[in-house]
């Protein structure tokens, strides 16, 4: 008898303790819980400019490119950087609702003789050139970008017959916004 009780204790109790007994007796208890996960992606807008030119400035060295030309107006590509694109421009905007705009303007090289309109831009590789101007003009726009979005540009300089010799510098300004 004692042996039977011992065997019963040895076989049945562990089964009860480890859950098999539950299937036979009480209904299963199920504990469902969840973990809330929150991801916060900030709304951001950004502009990135790069040129392969040495010294990070775009140079039109008309002497190296052959000046004067046979006739005016004549168009010169930059001597530095010598390859397209002249400027790498990238825009970042992750707003799902706002339209972003990329505008540009420039100062005159020389107010009397070499206005900024003698500098022209085109979407890289397109060859469809437009004058820069003193006022802001739109170069690109769009909705949410996929990461940094490229809007590279090529430049060329329009030499006019009355351009006086000299060394001229100007600033080209890019502005990105989403109003």
């Amino acid at each position: 008898m004692r042996k039977c009780i011992f065997l019963f204790a040895l076989v049945v109790l562990p089964i009860n303790l480890f859950g098999l007994g539950r299937q036979i007796g009480a209904p299963p208890d199920t504990l469902i819980d969840s973990v809330q996960v929150q991801v916060i992606i900030p709304e951001r807008i950004g502009l990135y400019l790069e040129t392969d030119a040495s010294g990070d400035i775009v140079v039109f060295d008309l002497d190296a490119a052959g000046y004067p030309p046979a006739s005016f107006p004549a168009y010169y590509d930059p001597t530095d950087p010598a390859t397209s694109p002249t400027v790498d421009i990238e825009v970042f905007s992750n707003s799902p609702t706002k339209t972003w705009y990329l505008d540009a303007c420039g100062d005159d090289f020389d107010a009397t003789y070499i206005p900024i309109t003698q500098l022209e831009w085109s979407p890289a590789g397109a060859g469809s050139y437009t004058d820069f101007s003193n006022g802001w003009t739109n170069h690109a726009s769009g909705s949410k970008t996929t990461g940094w979005e490229a809007h590279d540009e090529d430049y060329r300089f329009e030499a006019q017959a009355d351009d006086p010799a000299g060394t001229y510098t100007t600033w080209v300004r890019y502005r990105v916004y989403a109003l």
Binding site: P42, E43, R44, I45, G46, L47, Y48, L49, E50, T51, S54, G55, D56, I57, V58, V59, F60, D61, V87, D88, E90, F92, S93, S95, T97, K98, T99, Y101, D103, G106, L119, W136, N138, W148, Y155, T167, Y168, T169, T170, W171, V172, R173, Y174, R175, V176, Y177, A178, L179
Partner: protein
């Protein structure tokens, strides 16, 4: 995680603020700037106003020129700083509207980055600017109101002229449908365009079919009512 790029550039967060402020109570907010280039950048912050014309073109103005400019009531700090590669910096601005402020005031903060050239030659130097727009409403004084002023057809295009007659900016949802008798022959929706207070906007919808049509414009500008305008056009 940010990738550091080899040119020069930076990110702003957020690109705009839409604040409701109680007149007489100062509110301070911050703008985060992240340098994503390998260069140390010198950044200047300047205030500007803007208007948007009827065709949607933005015109930038000196601060205080726009009659509903916010800049008289906004203090920014710092106005210039350097930022190291990969570094994040915060610019704070404090808004304090006067007791007689009514409706919405707007303007922008322009963050201009200059990388000075390392050599001096005949050159074009690049400059980058990123804009943070500010829209500041005086609490409990905002009135939304709009009206369809005209529907016209000219040069293969249907134009809908909408007037913002309230004292805050609107971003209406404009739906145009064109009917040939009982049949709908055209439908297009435009939304998300900003129209500043007391200004107009002309929405253009290209339309080239020939015949007599009924044009219905429906504008939801977020007010109490949805505007609807109707006109018959003859396209030869």
């Amino acid at each position: 995680m940010l990738f550091v790029l080899s040119g020069f550039g930076f990110l702003l967060s957020p690109p705009s603020f839409d604040l409701v402020v109680f007149p007489g109570r100062a509110v301070t907010k911050s703008i985060r700037i992240t340098n994503v280039s390998r260069e140390t950048l010198f950044i200047e912050v300047k205030k500007e106003d803007f208007v948007i014309d009827a065709r949607g073109k933005v015109k930038w103005l000196e601060p205080g020129v726009y009659p509903f400019s916010c800049h008289e009531y906004v203090e920014v700090n710092p106005l210039s700083f350097t930022i190291l590669p990969g570094e994040k910096k915060t610019v704070r601005f404090t808004v304090n509207l006067p007791q007689n402020a009514r409706g919405e005031y707007s303007g922008v903060l322009v963050f201009r980055s200059v990388r000075l050239p390392k050599v001096w030659k005949p050159t074009v130097v690049l400059e980058g600017e990123v804009v943070c727009a500010l829209y500041i409403k005086a609490a409990n004084t905002v009135v939304k109101s709009g009206d369809i002023k005209n529907i016209t057809y000219e040069g293969d295009t249907i134009f809908i002229e909408f007037s913002n007659e309230g004292n805050c900016r609107l971003k209406p949802s404009v739906t145009l449908t064109v009917w040939d008798g009982p049949e709908k022959v055209y439908e297009k929706k435009v939304e998300g365009e900003t129209i500043l207070r007391h200004s107009r906007r002309v929405f253009a919808f290209p339309f080239k079919k020939k015949g007599r049509f009924r044009v219905i414009a429906r504008i939801d500008y977020g007010g109490l009512e949805i505007l609807e305008g109707e006109r018959e056009i003859l396209v030869r």
